[in-house]
């Protein structure tokens, strides 16, 4: 008996009705989540909009504050200027209320957004180079971890332990500042890539190891029974399945790494997002505006990466066991 069969009258079966009700509920939930997201986003924008709402002495006004450049004593200064948007002839008597939001220096953002945005490319470059390095290392470390050779096993666990036992921030400085003492001078970019790659390689090796051991013994035996060599078994049968298992967590690592690339700014020589934001923020004492810009760029990047990741995941799930 098929639960989804329609009966002779063309009416829907009970199971079908139940399924539809469930779908409706799910869609409703999803819609409400999206609406709430929009509401939260609008609230955040409002919080930084510089709008002030005052009500008192029988008058209610809505005004907008903005930084503007004015000449004062022959010098350019940025001053908060209020412009009234709306004035209503009614409201609270006497004191009333005064609701102020945060005033962001729009002029500063307009002047510096291009400079900060140029860092995006550098951030992406660091992330991609590091992730490639990390994946190669992680694969080697994971294979070493499954090796029967005690030295190779030790090498792999030693590397993972050493790297995971020390801060990433320290590792970046080590490659940038400590190695020159040994006459090895790396540019800030390569010191960063090396440190990020080594660091994420150590963490990702765990993911890879889990992926490799998720492939059952029967798969190897079937490949061997067909006459495959150990190398062919690894390449054709084990690795593709292990990678499928490892790709979703790898996506998370890549996203995390994109954000951790900000630490490379500490070397002072890699002009990525964070470095640029700090530079312009400090110069004009507009750190809030500068960091907000960088935060928005990072956020957009991770949102894009997350959507790519979920697309990859649904694709991978298609031919799954």
């Amino acid at each position: 008996m098929n639960l989804f069969n329609k009966d002779t009258n063309g009416n829907k079966s009970q199971a079908e009705l139940l399924y539809e009700a469930q779908q409706r509920k799910q869609n409703q939930f999803r819609r409400n989540v999206i609406l709430s997201w929009v509401a939260l986003l609008l609230f955040l924008i409002f919080l930084f909009s510089g709008i002030e709402i005052k009500s008192g002495d029988g008058v209610t006004t809505v005004s907008s504050w903005e930084f503007q450049v004015v000449i004062e004593n022959n010098r350019e200064v940025r001053k908060r200027i209020e412009s009234t948007l709306l004035s209503l002839p009614f409201g609270f008597s006497n004191q009333g209320f005064d609701l102020k939001t945060i005033i962001v220096d729009g002029e500063f953002i307009r002047e510096n957004i291009d400079f900060v945005a140029e860092g995006i490319l550098q951030t992406i470059r660091i992330s991609i180079l590091s992730i490639l390095f990390a994946v190669a290392l992680a694969l080697l470390a994971a294979l070493g971890r499954l090796s029967a050779n005690p030295f190779i096993y030790a090498l792999s666990t030693f590397y993972v332990s050493l790297i995971r036992g020390t801060p990433l921030y320290l590792q970046i400085f080590f490659f940038f500042l400590a190695l020159p003492q040994l006459n090895i001078v790396l540019t800030g970019l390569w010191a960063g890539v090396l440190a990020l790659g080594l660091n994420y390689g150590a963490y990702m090796s765990e993911t890879f190891r889990a992926g490799l051991s998720s492939v059952g013994k029967g798969q190897r035996e079937a490949a061997m029974a067909l006459g495959m060599t150990p190398g062919q078994t690894m390449r054709r049968i084990v690795l593709p399945q292990a990678l499928r298992f490892a790709i979703p967590p790898m996506g998370n690592d890549f996203i995390a790494m994109t954000k951790d690339s900000a630490l490379v700014s500490a070397t002072g020589f890699v002009h990525e997002l964070m470095w640029r934001a700090q530079k312009v923020g400090r110069a004009e004492f507009r750190n809030m505006e500068a960091l907000i810009m960088a935060a928005i760029f990072y956020w957009i990047m991770t949102l894009l990466l997350t959507s790519v990741q979920s697309r990859v995941e649904t694709r991978l799930a298609r031919g799954d066991r």
Binding site: L226, R236, R244, D320, R321
Partner: protein
């Protein structure tokens, strides 16, 4: 003509556990031999020793003229094992289809990767074998969309497409729901009818009685009875065989 499989003085230890005790058997070409016995009697291990999924501790395996001494190491030994594996096809209890490949890809994987067969030729051969097990209509499906019986039929086609001289079946119906066992047994009968030499570890007494030319009964790592099915089912000699057959009879009624 010499027997196609010759096993002589085979021993297998797992640590101190002696699971195969000095077994010697021959299988003639086109013969269908069923291996029965209680679980733990060593029948699966014996089968897996033939294509060296288990390395025998001592003894010799010879398949279609390729002679391999058990318990050896090194390049020559590995090459011989590889040669034996090319002559034997294996069907597992758990099917072991490759989940990341479609049915057709599963079946051509061996010929293309191992034998370096041209893809088009492998596809033609694979489709022929898939057709003969009745699974051609699912050739583009992934294994997770198939029933257990369908998976096992694909696994049989996969082994056949390597064009082996001998087929080894390791409890091919034990992981199946009862209503799916028949379709797999029917395919196996067809393979037997086409003249394939078969060694089948099974609990399916009905299949053994109907299809086998010879039945080997194993107990405690030894062959305790070697007879044609008619004699075995009517006049078992060993009391352990008798117990097995009585249990089968009581289940049948």
């Amino acid at each position: 003509m010499p027997p196609i499989i010759q096993i002589s003085s085979l021993d297998k230890y797992f640590g101190r556990l002696h699971v195969i005790k000095n077994i010697s058997i021959n299988v003639e070409e086109r013969e269908v031999v069923c291996l029965i016995g209680r679980s733990g009697s060593g029948k699966s291990t014996l089968l897996r020793c033939i294509n060296f999924l288990e390395e025998p501790s001592h003894g010799t395996i010879e398949v279609d003229g390729v002679r391999v001494e058990g318990g050896e190491k090194g390049k020559v030994h590995r090459q011989l094992v590889h040669d034996v594996r090319l002559k034997t096809g294996m069907v597992f209890q758990e099917f072991n289809l490759f989940p990341h490949m479609s049915v057709l890809e599963n079946v051509i994987e061996g010929p293309v990767t191992v034998k370096r067969m041209e893809r088009a030729k492998a596809v033609a051969l694979a489709e022929e074998n898939l057709d003969s097990v009745g699974m051609l209509f699912k050739k583009d499906e992934y294994p997770n969309r198939l029933s257990g019986g369908q998976k096992q039929r694909v696994a049989i086609a996969r082994a056949l497409t390597m064009e082996p001289r001998v087929m080894l079946f390791d409890e091919p119906t034990s992981a199946l729901d009862p209503e799916l066992i028949g379709e797999v047994l029917n395919v196996m009968k067809k393979v037997a009818k086409d003249g394939m030499t078969m060694l089948v570890v099974t609990h399916e007494m009905g299949f053994a009685r109907e299809v086998a030319d010879r039945v080997l009964v194993m107990g405690d790592g030894e062959i305790i009875e070697d007879a044609n099915p008619k004699d075995l089912f009517t006049q078992p000699k060993d009391p352990r065989t008798k117990a097995l057959i009585d249990r089968y009879r009581s289940g049948e009624q």
